[in-house]
Amino acid sequence: MTVVLTTGKISALTAITKIVSGHADALRKTLQGLTAANGGKIASLGTIHIVRWVMFDDDTRLLFATNFDGSVEDYMRDFAERAPEGIDAIWGHCEGYPGARDYPKLRDYILGSAIETTGYYCAYPNSTVTDINKALDWKTKFDTFLDQIG
């Protein structure tokens, strides 16, 4: 899977799909709603650092760019099982989308529309989302502790 570029524990994936004619407004609404809801179920995956969708080319194409922990295969499958309706709500507006309930077809669709990541830098390549959240939690607790003994 050469379309996935990995540095340390973090990988990048970028995919471009065609938006079905007439669906741009509905897709925009879905993505704006997702942003307003802080990603909705994305946080429940626990392995996504950042994900970005960009509608471009006069609203005819959708760019999906993400940074995530672990193997794309293992986690995409779990996400597809837990939140198929969320995946449908986005790529259901794109051409050729097979639906999220048939995992091999979904994988082939996303990876098949992925493009090479040519350059990549990550400031914390060996820290997972879990590591970072845990470190932030400890920092908060440590500050509280220092406040209490100070």
């Binding site: 922990d69 779990d78 837990r82 309930r101 997972t128």
Partner: protein
């Protein structure tokens, strides 16, 4: 489908030399293969046949059918080494014969006595040449003897084995507490489709089958792993990582997740409890829900990794039931004496048969994520302390109450892969049909 256990077995690895004859023989042995119906009669002998993808190809299975099987099964276990963590001492280039070469079929002969098994194996092997098959190798496996000579279900490291099996709907067996999925009312069995092709799985749907359905329906996939156990290295590691005899027992139990008797740390965290271990209604009745921090049973302990139950906080807990395996393990080689003063260099370990409907989603996921990665449970770089691919720099974390966590460092591998393959276990009807569809007309 139902797990069963016999004290002795032969694992025969075969190759096909004459497709038409081999098909006829496979069709003919269908009548001898063990089914759930036979098991109810408590047989003294069991017989099972499974084929690798190369084997299906060698008997002339038509191309459209071959290419409809999942990619990982087509590739075979050796080609999946990167995913499985089979590197270094475990790399396929170092595997034992016959796994260093193509293997077409697996025949498992299981029996209550060595005499019954040997007689059945002798008959089988003398039958092969006239039937277009050659023997590539046989592995002799049997339960290890207790000090009094009686065979006991204990593996080479000295731990009781085979306590947890997933309960499966329709298996005809009662759901023992702990055997299925934690449920509002206690425990429920897993859907048959997690282990049998062509049945609804835990999503409620029937996944696409390899074609034709007459070949794949009621079949399953069997993963064979030949795992060498470095018993001396395990004992040596415990000696220099602990303070005294009691600490050896505690640290080893923390690594395993169960005491030597099989009593789970989740239920008895301070000391072994053989009475608890011997009670099938109690010895598995826990979920880790009251031990999310792992102060009783470490989150990274071997048995907790292989079946995290309800003990995974965060998102990874939601899909535990989609990564279950039916396990059958039997030791090979002789036991390293308890008073051994040095490593004897002998070959010893376990032959594991892991049954599942989806090798990538079940076996490979467990091997890659739960055994060889720590991030699914917030454990960083910790791997499974017993069977993970450690290289001498492994770590294992033991959370404690009222004291900082204890961390073991410098873990080597206590297990090395010595071979293995992915096999397809056809249903009885499919096996019979091999005889009706000779390769010449099928392809």
């Amino acid at each position: 489908m139902r797990p069963y256990r016999f004290p002795v077995a032969h694992y025969h690895l075969l190759n096909v030399s004459d497709p038409a004859r081999a098909r006829r023989w496979f069709g003919g042995v269908a009548g001898r293969c063990t089914t759930v119906a036979n098991l109810d009669a408590s047989p003294s002998l069991a017989f099972n046949l499974a084929l690798s993808w190369q084997g299906l190809s060698a008997i002339g299975t038509p191309e459209p059918s071959l290419s409809s099987f999942p990619q990982e099964f087509q590739q075979g276990m050796a080609a999946r080494a990167d995913r499985l963590g089979d590197a270094g001492d475990s790399a396929p280039a170092r595997w034992d014969a016959p796994f260093n070469n193509t293997v077409h079929a697996l025949v498992v002969v299981s029996a209550m006595t060595s005499a019954d098994r040997d007689a059945a194996s002798t008959a089988l092997l003398s039958d092969l040449r006239d039937n277009g098959l050659t023997a590539a190798g046989t592995i002799d496996a049997k339960l290890l003897p207790a000090p009094d000579g009686r065979p006991v279900p204990v593996e080479h490291f000295g731990y009781r084995d085979g306590i947890t099996q997933p309960a499966i709907e329709g298996s005809g067996e009662p759901v023992l507490p702990g055997a299925g999925i934690p449920d509002a009312g206690g425990w429920r069995a897993l859907k048959a489709g997690e282990f049998v092709l062509g049945r609804p799985d835990e999503t409620g749907a029937i996944p696409d089958l390899p074609t034709p359905a007459s070949l794949s329906a009621n079949g399953s996939f069997v993963v064979l792993r030949k795992l060498h156990q470095h018993v001396w290295a395990f004992r040596d590691f415990l000696k220099y990582s602990t303070t005294d005899e009691a600490d050896v027992a505690l640290v080893a139990a923390k690594m395993m997740g169960r005491w030597q008797s099989g009593a789970p740390l989740a239920l008895t965290a301070e000391h072994d409890d053989p009475a608890l271990a011997g009670d099938p209604k109690r010895n598995n009745d826990f979920t880790y829900l009251d031990d999310l921090k792992g102060t009783s049973c470490p989150i990274g302990a071997h048995v907790r990794r292989l079946n995290p139950r309800s003990g995974l906080t965060g998102p990874n807990g939601a899909s535990v039931h989609r990564h279950r395996l039916l396990r059958q393990g039997l030791p090979y080689g002789s036991r390293l004496p308890a008073d051994a003063a040095a490593d004897d260099g002998a070959e010893r370990g376990a032959i594991m048969l892991l049954v599942n409907a989806d090798i990538a989603r079940q076996f490979e996921f467990v091997q890659k994520v739960w055994i060889n990665d720590g991030d699914f449970a917030g454990l960083g770089n910790d791997k499974d302390p017993m069977i993970g691919g450690n290289d001498g720099s492994g770590t294992f974390t033991i959370p404690r109450v009222g004291a900082p966590r204890r961390r073991l460092a410098g873990l080597p591998a206590f297990v090395s892969t010595r071979g293995g393959e992915y096999f397809f276990l056809p249903g009885i009807a499919a096996l019979r049909s091999f005889a009706d569809a000779p390769a010449a007309t099928a392809s």
